[in-house]
């Protein structure tokens, strides 16, 4: 696999798994307006993942769905940060803040890349991420004096750059995520 494909998969996996986790708040977020807002963030993340998988898929001779669903848990290259299930709002926001910071730097590097296709996609994604960053900032300001939020930031910070692949959390998510898909032979249309 080329370095380019590996990089694409790393970012796509981050966005996919984070989007999957963020979508878990749809319907049960702290209040209705925020529920609608956060669901859009989750959908954007899945959308980014899809676009990135599609780029990689062309190079690897497969499809975005196959890359997203049909690899084994240990083959995913996402950060330990996104793999965790975080049913507490302060931990979800802490992750959101940390992720957006790290992702902004990453996208900045990609936008400056010689690879025109990659740079172009990075620019598109970044234009949506601007809003995610705004959202993260807005919440960070509101929660900054909350001890549980501070604790969450401390807890999650070390996980940003850790990429182990196949953690128990990810494996559990993967099994649920692929349960319907795996109920029929590979190549079945859904």
């Amino acid at each position: 696999m080329s370095e380019r494909a590996q990089l694409l998969l790393e970012i796509a996996d981050d966005e996919l798994i984070l989007g999957w986790r963020d979508s878990e708040w749809t319907g049960i977020a702290p209040f209705l307006e925020e529920d609608v807002a956060f669901s859009s963030i989750a959908q954007n993340e899945i959308g980014h993942a899809r676009a990135l998988y599609e780029l990689a898929a062309r190079e690897l001779g497969t499809t975005a769905d196959e890359l997203a669903f049909d690899r084994k848990p240990e083959e995913y290259r996402c950060s330990a940060l996104v793999e965790l299930r975080l049913p507490e709002w302060e931990r979800t926001i802490a992750r959101h803040v940390l992720y957006e910071q790290a992702d902004a730097e990453r996208l900045g590097r990609l936008k400056a890349s010689d690879d025109a296709e990659l740079a172009g996609l990075a620019a598109k994604i970044d234009r949506e991420e601007v809003y995610h960053r705004l959202h993260a900032e807005m919440w960070a300001e509101r929660l900054q004096d909350e001890p549980r939020y501070q604790a969450a930031l401390e807890e999650l910070q070390p996980l940003v750059d850790r990429r182990n692949g196949g953690s128990p959390e990810l494996t559990a998510l993967w099994e649920e995520m692929t349960s319907v898909r795996r109920s029929q032979p590979a190549g079945t249309t859904w």
Binding site: E33, R142, L143, E146, V180, T188
Partner: protein
């Protein structure tokens, strides 16, 4: 009825529109608010059966579509509760009453979703039944509610297409996939037939008399059958009611009388999943109470 109430009744019956700060008879206001509140509750509770499947959607496109659909439902709850709030009952009070079982929500959201087939059937048929009621509400005499119904109906239009797409894909797939659809349909048919409510005559239905609803329950049900039984049959699916047929002379659909006792039993809080879904709502609300406090403090 007082003179003023009589005049109001004639006003709404001749198509008059009512705004938030207008004078309303107590009965009108009470029925209106209860009706709209139940609608809001239903959107909020309707989210829960579908949420589980967001996590298990088998393709990226289905994942996005299903998340967007559920997001819409949350958005609808927001629109609807705002209308109730302007009628004098706060969102928090509405949620209190929902969680404690004092107020109700539609029957269909008390039932379990067991397979991906349910996801398709709900989006295709349950949403279709709902949209028939919602289109009739576009003519509600209470203008703020009629206005949000426009936005709601517009957003629902993709839900039905998404549902139909899921179903068609399954019906074109493996034997197991086709079986998923038939099996889900068999389970959902009863609740669907009960969805529009018991067969009270339109001219005896207070909701129609006050022009809150513009369509009787039976009329809505007939419209549903007219639109969707052909769609079901053309895919080779069967409906689990041997009596179901259209009487060519009258143009009316005939069917086995739905179990109205079951409907009453379910909407008064005894559905198969009522308790644990209300519990989920209660817990989610408790866990995030501190967030609402922090946000409103500053």
């Amino acid at each position: 009825m007082t003179q003023r109430e009589q005049e109001f009744l004639e006003y709404v019956q001749s198509g008059g529109q009512v705004e938030t700060d207008d004078w309303m008879p107590d009965e009108y206001r009470a029925r209106l608010r209860k009706f709209i509140e139940m609608h809001g509750n239903s959107e909020l509770m309707g989210v829960l059966p579908e949420r589980e499947w967001i996590l298990r959607a088998p393709t990226l496109q289905r994942k996005l579509a299903l998340t967007a659909k559920v997001q819409d439902e949350v958005g609808h709850a927001q629109l609807i509760y705002r209308v109730v709030e302007d009628l004098g009952k706060s969102r928090e009070e509405c949620l209190d009453d929902l969680i404690s079982g004092v107020s109700k929500f539609h029957n269909v959201f008390h039932y379990p979703t067991k397979t991906w087939g349910d996801v398709g059937v709900i989006a295709w048929l349950v949403d279709a039944a709902a949209i028939i009621s919602q289109k009739a509400l576009l003519k509600c005499s209470y203008a703020p509610y009629a206005r949000i119904m426009k936005k709601i109906c517009w957003e629902e239009s993709f839900h039905i297409l998404h549902g139909r797409d899921v179903i068609l894909t399954l019906m074109l797939g493996t034997d197991d996939q086709r079986e998923l659809v038939q099996e889900a349909l068999n389970r959902w048919w009863g609740p669907l037939m009960q969805f529009h409510g018991n067969p009270i005559q339109a001219d005896e239905d207070p909701m129609v008399i006050w022009r809150i609803k513009s369509q009787g329950n039976d009329e809505a049900r007939q419209q549903f059958l007219d639109g969707y039984v052909p769609q079901i049959w053309e895919l080779g699916l069967t409906v689990p009611d041997p009596e179901l047929r259209k009487d060519e002379e009258s143009g009316r659909w005939l069917y086995t009388e739905p179990d109205w006792d079951e409907l009453k039993h379910v909407v008064t809080g005894h559905g198969p999943r009522t308790a644990d879904r209300l519990d989920l709502r209660r817990q989610a609300r408790e866990n995030s109470a501190w967030v609402r406090q922090v946000l409103l403090a500053a």
